[in-house]
Amino acid sequence: MTEREAAAAMTRRKLGPSLRGWFQDWLPRLVLGPSFLLVLIFVYGFNLWTLFLSFTSSKAFPTTNLIGFTNYMRLWDWTFETDPPSNWYTALVNMGLFGGLYIFFCLFLGLLLAILLDQKIRGEGILRPIYLYPLALSFIVTGTAWKLFLDPRIGLENALHDWGWKSFHFDWVVDPKMMIYCVAIAGIWQSSGFVMAMFLAGLRGVDGEILKAAQIDGASTYQTYRRIVIPIIRPVFFSALIVLAHMAIKSYDLVLSVTGKNPGGAAELPSTFMYSYTFTRNQMAIGSASAVIMLMTIAAIMVPYIYSETREQNR
């Protein structure tokens, strides 16, 4: 090796790591940059734009004429005695009904299915995808199918009448007071399989030794699950709850497809309220105000969750 080659090798050694180091530092940033920029503009930028619109007097098209909190005041301008209930109040009540039923039953059925599948039964490989499959359908397909199924003229009621059960009566899907429950049924059918999969993964993570110990101690199956397994998989509950809660709040296509365009606002949810006021009723400012309220609701659920997650990682 000549002196010159040795010097070149030296510089290569010096340059190499630093160039590679520079790449290592910058590559992730370069890769993430465009998507970060897009999210910044299209999510956070438009969040701010919506926030701004909610303080204006926009009707069919956006204006920059600021009118303060008037739109929010109009949304919250009701009491529990107001008869008939205002559209926004209806949307909130339906949200409570739908969200509560949807979350509770998805967790309940999901856990039940997971525990039953976890009994080392034959055919689990076939059953699991069957329960999971509804998740692969979009809400609009689920909704339309359930609408046809529940429709008294062509669906379940009609079929049972044809088979001779004449007194059977089930017309929730065309009854404005019961519509929201049909939406909940379709939603639960769609999502409980997914919750089941989450729980199943959690159950598989439980240490077999503990279960054996419980068996030796003479615990019944019920006690084992009730006192040992379910407390162990508590974090799964929390994750499932978060996923279900935001799915419930942003449900839109499901409502429209199950109820047939939400006649008369009977199954109004905040999401359908926001869309109709912003885009079809030409009250963009009111729609924006409702969107801001929805965002805050979701943030109220997500922020503590994200905070607790990051704190755990830092620990």
Binding site: F46, W49, A60, P84, D175
Partner: protein, 421 residues
């Protein structure tokens, strides 16, 4: 302004994804037409215009957005206009056209209007929507009226019914049908349909002057009056004659019930006639058309218009060609024979029309001369959309039991309208 337009357009473009967007660069020899004419009778009528445009050497690019009342179509249109990518023309209803005109989004086709003398032949009430500051930006293709009832003749004969001349007679007729075991009233429980029916009920209950005072002038005294309460009570009477599964039904399915003889009567604008025609039914032989009992002599109209947007200069020729075709008397006649409406020009012969069409044309002429020609509130021709939808809310809640009494209904109506102003 530019930046704002950009913001709006991006926000709205997301909305259009669900409906499909327009082709990005429109060909200069092509007419892009956004509309919501997707039912059988409507599509057949639109074909008349397609053919006529083809004769002028322009290709037709259909942009249909389904949904009877046009709500979805209006959303798509708004997004495309805001994105700087407007169609050549779009089907539009009165106040929406004015909104675009105020925004300065509409083209000026006055040169053609003056050349062909539209000012003299289009009813003055309609010109209010087609012209802004004396400039034509839209053309009316038809005049529909909402105060019609459509009856299945065979069912009518079976139950021995006669033409009802007043609201009470109408209720008596429905009662007859109910006793005979036919569904008396075919209705789709969608807000716009219920409100369209209520337009007629109000006119029938209080008379044309009352209708004008309440819905055109928005006179609070009239809106709160006992007459309005009675109108709501009358609407409640009609509610007893619909079948239990009416919620959410589309209007053309309700028309089909009358066509098939499952139901006796539908209260609907004369676009329903297009469905009868598409099913090869003949007026006077298979079905009967009467003015809504108690509203004969008045016309509560809406009109389908084509709005023309500001487009690049090389696309204007296609626009003018479409405008000229649309206003051509022969096209107006052929189109409206199929659609069930009457021509938007007062100089078109009624030779090609059936008895319902002839009556419609005569009624429009008479009402226009007598001053009983008013826009339908339910169809966005009496008030801007925000007020019309507030009206829908109240009528629908009343129909479906959310509002229990007519006293509450009128209070709510005043409240809702004031909030939407």
């Amino acid at each position: 302004m530019k930046f704002r337009a950009f913001l709006i357009s991006t926000a709205l473009t997301a909305v259009t994804i669900s409906y499909g967007t327009l082709a990005h660069a429109a060909d200069v020899k092509e007419v892009q037409m956004l509309h919501w004419w997707t039912s059988g009778g409507e599509a057949a009528a639109l074909d008349v215009i397609k053919q006529a445009v083809a004769k002028q050497g322009y290709a037709w690019k259909d942009v249909p957005v389904a949904g009877g009342g046009g709500g979805a179509a209006m959303t798509t249109l708004k997004a495309n206009v805001a994105a700087g990518n407007p169609p050549t023309a779009s089907q539009i209803l009165g106040y929406y056209a004015l909104e675009y005109a105020e925004q300065g989004s509409l083209a000026d086709i006055s040169s053609l209007a003056n050349k062909d003398g539209w000012d003299k032949v289009v009813p003055v009430a309609l010109q209010k929507f087609a012209k802004t500051n004396g400039k034509w930006g839209a053309v009316p293709i038809n005049i529909h009226s909402v105060n019609w009832i459509w009856l299945n003749k065979a069912v009518m004969e079976k139950i021995g019914g006669t033409e009802p001349k007043s609201f009470d007679e109408f209720v008596a007729l429905l009662d007859k049908a109910k006793k005979a075991g036919v569904i008396p009233l075919a209705l789709g429980g969608q807000p716009w349909q219920e409100a369209t029916m209520f337009d007629s009920v109000v006119a029938s209950t209080g008379g044309t002057d009352f209708y004008k005072k309440a819905f055109v002038d928005l006179d609070e005294g009239a809106l709160k009056s006992d007459t309005m309460k009675k109108a709501f009570d009358n609407l409640a009477k009609l509610r007893d004659y619909v079948d239990p599964n009416y919620t959410g039904r589309d209007w053309n399915l309700a028309t089909a019930m009358v066509i098939k003889g499952d139901a006796l009567v539908q209260v609907m604008g004369d676009w329903a006639k297009g469905e009868f025609a598409a099913a090869h039914k003949e007026a006077g032989k298979d079905y009967l058309c009467y003015r809504f009992p108690g509203t004969d002599g008045s016309v509560f109209y809406n009109s389908d218009m084509f709005a023309f947007f500001k487009v690049p200069a090389d696309r204007q020729a296609a626009q003018l060609a479409l405008a000229q075709v649309t206003m051509n008397p022969d096209v107006q006649s052929a189109f409206n024979v199929i659609k069930g409406s009457v021509p938007a020009r007062t100089d078109v012969s009624d030779a090609a029309f059936d008895i319902c069409g002839k009556k419609g044309i005569a009624d429009v002429k008479a009402a226009n001369a007598k001053g009983t020609f008013f826009g339908s509130l339910a169809q966005n021709y009496a008030q801007p959309p925000a007020i019309a939808t507030a009206y829908y809310d109240v009528v629908t809640k009343f129909m479906h039991g959310g509002i229990k009494t007519s006293d509450i209904a009128v209070t709510e109506l005043v409240k809702a309208i004031n909030a939407a102003k």
